[in-house]
Homo-oligomer: 367 residues x 2
Amino acid sequence: MHIDKAALGDLACGAAFLGSGGGGDPYHNRLIGEARIARQGPFQLIGLDALADDALVAPCGWIGAPAVSIEKLPNGSEAARGLRRLEQLLGRRVDAVLPIEIGGGNALAPLLAAAELGIPVVDADGMGRAFPESQMSIFSIRGLSACPSVLTGPCGSLAVIETPDNHAHERLARQLSIALGGDAHMVEYPLTGRQAKDHAIPGSISTAIAAGAAIRAARANGAAPFEALFAALRGSRLYPFAGVLFDGKIVDLEREIRDGFSCGNIVIEGFGGAGRMDLAFQNENLVARRDGTVCAMTPDIITIMDRETADAITTDRLKYGQRVKVVGAAAPWMLREAHALALVGPAAFGMADPYIPIETLNPWRTA
Amino acid sequence: MHIDKAALGDLACGAAFLGSGGGGDPYHNRLIGEARIARQGPFQLIGLDALADDALVAPCGWIGAPAVSIEKLPNGSEAARGLRRLEQLLGRRVDAVLPIEIGGGNALAPLLAAAELGIPVVDADGMGRAFPESQMSIFSIRGLSACPSVLTGPCGSLAVIETPDNHAHERLARQLSIALGGDAHMVEYPLTGRQAKDHAIPGSISTAIAAGAAIRAARANGAAPFEALFAALRGSRLYPFAGVLFDGKIVDLEREIRDGFSCGNIVIEGFGGAGRMDLAFQNENLVARRDGTVCAMTPDIITIMDRETADAITTDRLKYGQRVKVVGAAAPWMLREAHALALVGPAAFGMADPYIPIETLNPWRTA
């Protein structure tokens, strides 16, 4: 399979939705990717089943505050330096990369990394959405180690982390990302092909492309882009429920960079005084309350989108006055198991509310 | 040369003085060192001239907030794990270690590290005192790289840093030390034997031992311990001037752990209303003002000592009400050159005052 310019645009659009507000705005990575395609042709995508069991697969992406990444641009060498260092550490070549998260710019960055090394990207990812912390990956949920991991940043800086504890790894990587200027490239959870096949969220890149393509086609045909998106998500095996949670205007927005994350709160007022929605985010949107009652919570996807164009608005691009729809989607089932919820559910973010599936809270038509 | 139990005690005493308040209280390392000597005999110390030009010499010590180190004890494997990892990185054995700083507990920790590997400690160090930041070493002053460096912490955590910029290295290492619980072991500035001979502060371990021995002998003989210390320092080629800056009682002490450092301010009131002294510290005492006028400043040594016993009180052990003498000593000349002052002088700590040598500010008898 190949990702050409149109598919890259669709991936950027679909991944921005799947990011639940996080993963970073895909805009820069899309531009760099388009330039690369114009110069050297499309990106190479392979399915999980194309991996040899003993292949070395390197999940990668950027760690940091998305609000930083839109001002501090990469120099372009970060990913390749990190991957080459992993090869040195493990004494062998990396056979393929995959996005550690399918959300936002982090869905696209591994394409650039792979092209740099002349290797393919695997149609899969480590989170099925975006999450703010490294241990919130399916690989960690399934007991695999994040280490050795390699962080690279500006001016030739590089760090290798080794620790048996994925939470300790997150703390170390987070502090390093702060010292590297607020975001850094990270190669982590090095996998065998067998581990990737057993644990990675399968098909998430092609699902993101399909979601983006559905929105693009609807726009071109004058059809309703949100309905097209929901149909594409429901059609995937990963995101079986999706729908609108709220429709209104952003009337309040608090944002700060705290402990290396973009954190904040959003208030959206319904049109014509039709209620309000409160959202809290830590890089990603984590919980949505409609008139004070929870209507969606992590790990389910909560994305704020432009109400006309259906462009997802990542948390770093939110602004007062934006007229938006808040859209929700069920997370992939692997993230909803009890031991997964311990790492990615509400309790993992210090919330007292028990997890209730988004389709229980919002009985959407599934026709 | 060997360091037996008596010499270890003298080293702890002398290094606590040379630390200018920092380097960590040597108490724990002294106890661990005594146990090691009882079990396996004295530590092996060699002179710089015993190093082959192509030897691999590893400066090492603990990085973090001294106030943390007195509560969070090492598990004992940190140093050996870091040194072994450096050997892996460089593809050869480490031939000898040296203290990155001769101050406080960091003068003793490398003895334990060396004994663990069965190699000697070099009679030299990287700072001629203690400083709070990694790039404040003679090796950095002379243009050598801190990298690769290896940090090790509790529970098997380890990180390798590579960066061409020693200030960036400090930022990365500092953030890692925070994530590792507030202090961590670090192997840094790997040197050839030639580089160690050209740049390390020579003889600082034996000078610290001599200073400690002078205090011990004076106590045993009922002589004045401070005068004995000053005579020992003046007799060394490293610390040609030393004397008392102030005598009084600690009446105010502000301390906080900020950005991974122990920072604070101290007010000492002279006995019988004889003026006051204000000191500011960042791990180490940095500047002393007598009745509002600077009387000593970094890189010169400023150490608060018990006024009866002449025991140095590291910044992590300061308490309201302690009756103390504040003692100063000239820093080794290598730290007083113009390009050295840029890294370790008052400007490096954001102070506007120009550096004035302590012997100019305090015309002590040098007889």
